[in-house]
Structures are given as C-alpha cells and as structure tokens.
C-alpha cells in the first residue's frame, strides 16, 4: 500500500489533529528559527557593545603605558580590568606595541612579555567587531591603539561566549518544550473537535453501512441534532433518499412480478396453442374411432395418433413444470433442459414464423455441474427476448458449448441491437441505475441468474447483423467436488 493510501486509510478524527500538530510543528520551527536568529543578533550586538566598552576602557588606561613601553603598567591595567569586566568574561587579553611585540598579556605564563605575538592571533579576526569561533565558544576582538594619528600598538582580546550559546540552547529547549506542549494541546483539541463534528457523520455512516447489507433504515428524529442545520438537512436528505429507494424497490419488484406474469402469460398462451393444436387431431381421431373403430387398421392408426398427440401435450406440461417448480431448480443442467426450452419456445417461434438455429456442443456427459433451473430460466428469457426483437420469419439462434471449466451460451437475434441503457442491466458492474429506470426487467432477471451463478454476460453485434448475448457460466466447483467425492 502506498504511503498516500495508508495515510488516507487513517480515520479523519486522527488525520486532522495530526495535520494540526504538523502545522504547529512547522509554524513553531519557523518561529523558533526567527527567535533564535533575532536572539543571536541581539546577543552579538550586546557582545559587540560590551567588547567595545571593554576595549575603550582598556585603551584609555593602557595608552600612556604603551607609549612609555611600561610593561608593568600595561599588565596592571589588564589584571585590574579582568575583575571590572566580569560580565564580559575576558579569557585573555594581549597588548602589543607598534612592532607587534607583546608588552603584556593577561596570562604572562602563556604569552611572555617582550615576545613576538603568535601568528594565529593575527588571523583569527573577521570583519565583525567581535569574531565568534563557535567550536571554541570564544569571541575575538582587536583594537588598534592610536596616539596622535599614529598606531602605537594593539589590544587583542578573547572572550568566553559559551554563556551566549548556553542561553541560545536554553531558549531553543524552552521553545521546543513550549511548542511541543502547545502542538499536543492543539492536536488533542483538534481530535476532540473533529470527533464531535463527525459524530453525526458516523450516524449517517452506520445507516449507510446497514443499507449496503439490505436494510436501509431512516435516521430516527431523536438522532437529528436540533442545533446543527447542515447536519439536520443532510439527515433529512438521507431519510428522503431511503424512502425514495424503498418506493423504487417496491415498484421494481412489482414490475418484475408483472414481467414474470407477462412472460408466463405468453408461455401459457404458447402452451395453450401446443395443447390446442393436437386437440383437433385428437378429436378427429376419436371421431374416426367412433365411426370406424371396428376397422383394425383405422383403429390402430387413430390410437397411435391419439397417443402421439397426448405425448406432445405431456411433454409441454412437463417442460413448464420443470421450469417453474423451484424445488427442481437446484439439480444439475442436462441436455433435457435445453430441449425443454426449445419446446417452450416453439409456440412463440411458430406464431412469428421464425426459425431456430440450434447448436449444442455437448461433451457427452449426462449432466453439467451447473444449476439447471436458473440456466433454463435465463436461456428461456433471452430466447423470448431474441424472438421478440427478431422480425417475423427471421432466425433466432442458440449455441451452447462445454469448455471444460464453464458453459458458454450464445443467443443470437436479428434485431436492431440493444439500447445501451438496457444493455447496462446485463453487462454493467452496477445494474442498479438501469434497473431503477424500470425497463428491461427480463434482462434484469437474467442478470440476477448470472450473478447468482458467478458468471458473466456480454453483448456484441453479430457479423451477419443482429446481436449476440453471450453468457459464461462457470462450473460449480463445490458441486463438482461433491460429485467427485
């Protein structure tokens, strides 16, 4: 999972406080940087001022002694000044004469009087009044001693500036601690606020979750916050949606029922034809038997006619029973199921003078591990639809193929194609919108069957005109395994 998705997966009530805390950290980092920068400038100008005062005072006190080359007087001035300027914390001060030789240093044991000034002393100064060496926590300053416009020597001073760094560190720690506490408080406050703000959304969410599982319940008026107009409006909107959805579902069920009845009516009318057609022949045969029953040849022929006629009627009735008796729907698919469908479709085809191209590639097994009932239902519906859209005297086709893992059924027609919004019922991931439009309920029943069996449906135009609907029904593994066991 990418970091962004992982972040999105964190609940909002934690994300918002985290963002608040992060913002506080960014703000405090910026503020801290400014404060420390300002402090650093203040400290440096303070140090510059102090060092300037120190060097001014020292200059005036050592100048006459430097003029005379009086080593003791210079040292005495340095020694006394170290107590006077304690706030500056001078570490070392060296006074040189015009030749650069040391007259006196505050620590004569380190730098001897009359010695050459060590080279590093000359190179340690920058452009600032006090040059700070952060590693050594020391500040360096130099002051030329000028008398009557002539340089007569110089003062080299080093100061302990560790207290400045300690002060900066102290301020930094204070800032960090304060900002951490403030950021923590803001984050906690943000958490509480967001938690409180999204409380109503949670109510909505729980209702929506239960709606996904089929029980869309309106939010009770007790749960609608009286003061929050936006949330109340949202909840009312949701409740309106739930009521509308319920009505639509009821309507859809009603329409589905009507469609079922309608197709049943067509089937029943077809069956009536199927039964009615042989009936004329049967009555003729009975009349012939009544009149010429004594004649052995005529009697046998008539009885045979009656027998075939009745057998035809029985087949039709059995096919109808097999299709519409739910307890029989779980049995595996057999070739008989397709024969039944053909039989049930026959009256409709005859009525419209249509032909049926029939191509079943069966591998010889008696039955396939696919539930027979739903497949019959789906195929019958699709064929009825195909017959409906195919012009009179046209051709309707059915091809079924056993691929080893699944059963592929293709139903072809010679119609003008299926409108996209109707086709959506069969092939879209969510058939809801098309179904809610209240159209193509036959296809919706097919879709339900396909979904139930874990299969897929596709629609494609045929090369020779018309449309082909293909169902891919996977073999039922559980059944297959159960059979194997």
């Amino acid at each position: 999972m990418s970091p962004f998705r992982r972040w999105q997966a964190i609940p909002l009530s934690f994300r918002v406080p985290a963002i608040v805390a992060l913002l506080m950290v960014v703000i405090s980092a910026a503020i801290s940087e400014r404060v420390l920068d300002r402090l650093s400038h203040t400290q440096e100008s303070y140090l510059d001022g102090l060092a300037g005062t120190y060097l001014d005072g020292l200059s005036s006190s050592v100048l006459p002694a430097v003029l005379r080359g009086d080593v003791w007087e210079v040292f005495d001035a340095l020694d006394r000044s170290s107590f006077v300027y304690e706030s500056l914390a001078p570490i070392e001060t060296v006074v040189t004469n015009s030749d650069g030789r040391v007259l006196a240093a505050s620590d004569p044991n380190k730098i001897k009087a009359y010695s050459e000034l060590p080279v590093e002393y000359a190179s340690r100064y920058g452009t600032e009044a006090v040059t700070i060496d952060e590693d050594r926590k020391t500040g360096f300053a130099r002051r030329e001693l000028i008398y009557q416009s002539q340089p007569i020597g110089a003062i080299h001073a080093a100061f302990d500036v560790s207290h400045l760094f300690a002060e900066r560190r102290e301020v930094l720690v204070t800032l960090l601690v304060t900002n951490a506490i403030v950021a923590g408080l803001f984050a906690f406050g943000g958490f509480l606020l967001v938690h409180r703000m999204i409380g109503p959304i949670r109510v909505l969410e729980s209702h929506m979750r239960s709606a996904v599982h089929g029980a869309a319940e309106p939010i009770s008026p007790d749960e609608i916050p009286p003061g929050d107009g936006e949330v109340a409006s949202l909840f009312h909107g949701y409740n309106t949606l739930v009521h509308a959805e319920r009505e639509r579902a009821n309507l859809a069920m009603q329409l589905a029922e009507e469609e079922k009845l309608s197709s049943l009516g067509r089937l029943a009318s077809g069956m009536a034809h199927e039964i009615n057609n042989p009936l004329g022949g049967l009555f003729n045969a009975i009349d012939t038997l009544k009149t010429h029953g004594q004649t052995p040849g005529v009697r046998d022929t008539s009885i045979s006619l009656i027998e075939r006629g009745l057998a035809g009627i029985r087949d039709v009735v059995e096919a109808a029973l097999a299709t519409y008796r739910p307890e029989r729907s779980r049995r595996p698919l057999t070739a008989d199921d397709f024969d039944d469908v053909r039989l049930l479709l026959k009256p409709e085809l005859r009525r419209r003078r249509q032909q049926l191209e029939w191509d079943i590639s069966w591998n010889g097994a008696r039955e396939l591990p696919v539930r027979g009932g739903p497949v019959r239902q789906a195929v019958l519906n699709l064929l009825l639809n195909a017959a409906a859209v195919t012009p009179e005297a046209g051709i309707v086709s059915l091809r079924a193929k056993d691929t080893g893992n699944s059963l592929t059924i293709e139903i072809g027609d010679q119609g003008s194609g299926i409108p996209p919004e109707i086709a959506g019922i069969l092939v879209d991931r969510d058939p809801g919108p098309a179904v809610r439009a209240g159209r193509g309920l036959g296809l919706w029943m097919v879709r339900r069957v396909v979904d139930e069996l874990g299969g897929t449906a596709s629609i494609a135009p045929k090369n020779d005109g018309g449309t082909a609907v293909t169902l891919e029904i996977p073999f039922d593994r559980e059944d297959a395994e159960a059979d194997a066991a």
Partner: protein
C-alpha cells in the same frame, strides 16, 4: 608695625617691670600668629610606596593617631614613586616622610632621621630576590636572562641591593637580565613574579614576609632565591630646615611611643611592626656602601 612704633614711643615712661611685661607680651604677640599659622596649616606626612598597599583603614588610623598626638590636622601625602616623595621632603613641602634608606643616604645632608621602625626587635630588614614558586634555581646567578621586576629606581631593597650585588660581580642589570622593568611598589613586584610577567624580582623582605600573612595565596606563588644582609629599615625623616619645628619633635615622640596608645597599636599591628626607635644615622652605612659600590662600577 605702626602700633608697635606707638608703643615704643611710650617706653621711656614705663617702669622696668612694666617693660618686662611688655616685652613678654610683645614676644607672645609676635609668636602667636606663627603658632596660629602653624595650627592652621596641616602637618604633611609623606608616605612612599614602601607601604604594603593603599590600605585606607591603615591610613585612617595613622592620621587619627598622628592628629591626636600632634594636636592638629595631619595630611598624609602619597605619590607613585620614591622620587616624588623624596623631592617633596627635601624641598620642605612635606614636614616628614617615611622614605627608603637609599634616598635617605642620598640626601643625608638635607635630612634628619626622625625615627626608624623596629621589626622583630631591630630596626633592620632584608632585600629578597624572589622567583616563581617551584622553580629549580640555585642562587642568584640562576636568574640570568630573566625578565626581572624591580620595585623603584630609588628603592634600596627593590633595586639598589640587587644592582650592588651585580656590581660586585662586575655586572649591570641589563647585562645580567634579559629585560627588567619597574613596578613602583613591592607588592607589585610580588604580583609580577607570581603572575609570570617577570621570572624574578627584587623586593623588600619585610613587605614579602608581612604579605605572606595577609595575602598568602599571592605570596606562596613566589619563593625566595636570595636574602641580603640586614640593612637599615626605611626610616621616617624630616628636612634639616625644619629641625626647630616643635611638631617634628612631637612626631618623633608620637612615633616612638606609638605602642603606648590604643590607636597607635592598631597601626603597628596592621604594619606588623614592634614600634619606632631613634636610631643613629650610621645604621644606614651599609646602604651607603652599596651606593658607593654601584657608583664605582658605573
């Protein structure tokens, strides 16, 4: 003068007794303004930096004591160098001064010894050659090529003694020492050596010993390399021109009897001295001999 003249006109008519009374009265009248002037003008007492430090408390006690004993205001005059005090003393601008034996010997003809301090029962002290404590040095000759701190060019213990020692060995300070400088104070010599500014120094032995008690943390950073022979302690002297001034005698009495007075004892305690004695000028002959040694060597 006009009044005196008119009194003189009447002399002939006065009796001898009257005249005697008048003469006494005149003498008193003439003497009074001088005494009054003397009482108005403070007694000026000079102090050289032989003193341990500018101890204001000590100076306060000394002034209080001398004022009470001299019966008038006393002004303590101090200067940075021996030379300045000596010049003030010899020129009579101060009535008396506590100076060093070396200037006394130099201006012996113009100065009288008033009193000499007594330390450990004698009016004597020594000059020390000192170096940083712990330094491995064997005698004064080990101080060759040092940066040396002298006290004052007019100081016996802080300059003359060392210079004479070198002269006796046919050496001058600039030949023996790499560098030398004056600190104008014995305490400063000790500070210079203790801090490392100078590797050795010439210092008043009395000052070094007393400071070892007062400021041990400073003095213990130094050690004695050589002690000189005993020499006359820096005396209190007055100009010969003021020999008749009763306050000089009063000063001598005050100094000699200092230990009898509570205020005086405070001063002596602070100075770690026994008292003052009247010593003969010959006490400083050893110093005079050193001056001569230096003079002869050039």
């Amino acid at each position: 003068m006009v009044r005196g003249g008119s009194q003189g006109v009447r002399i002939g008519r006065l009796s001898r007794r009257d005249f005697s009374k008048l003469a006494l009265a005149s003498a008193v009248a003439l003497a009074l303004p001088r005494l009054a002037r003397a009482r108005d003008e403070p007694f000026k007492f000079g102090l050289t930096p032989v003193f341990l430090s500018n101890d204001l408390e000590l100076l306060g006690h000394l002034r209080a004591y001398l004022s009470s004993r001299l019966g008038g205001a006393v002004e303590l005059v101090s200067r940075r160098t021996y030379q300045e005090i000596t010049a003030l003393l010899v020129s009579g601008q101060v009535h008396a001064a506590w100076i060093c034996g070396y200037p006394y010997v130099q201006y012996k003809a113009d100065l009288d010894l008033t009193a000499t301090p007594s330390w450990h029962g004698k009016p004597l002290y020594q000059s020390y050659l000192i170096a940083a404590a712990g330094r491995a040095v064997d005698g004064w000759s080990g101080l060759r090529e040092d940066i040396h701190a002298f006290s004052d060019p007019d100081s016996n213990s802080g300059f003359l003694v060392t210079r004479a020692l070198l002269a006796e060995n046919r050496l001058r300070p600039d030949q023996f020492f790499s560098r030398s400088f004056f600190t104008y104070g014995h305490r400063n010599v000790i500070r210079a050596v203790a801090s490392g500014l100078a590797q050795s120094g010439s210092v008043d032995g009395y000052v070094w010993e007393v400071m070892r008690e007062i400021e041990p943390e400073l003095v213990t950073r130094t050690m004695i390399v050589r002690k000189s022979e005993w020499l006359g302690f820096p005396p209190v002297a007055s100009p010969k021109s003021l020999a008749g001034d009763p306050r000089i005698a009063a000063l001598r009495d005050a100094l000699v009897s200092m230990s009898d007075d509570a205020e005086g004892r405070k001063v002596l305690d602070m100075l770690r001295l026994d008292g003052f004695v009247v010593a003969p000028p010959e006490l400083f002959d050893t110093i005079a001999a050193k001056v001569e040694t230096v003079r002869q060597f050039g």
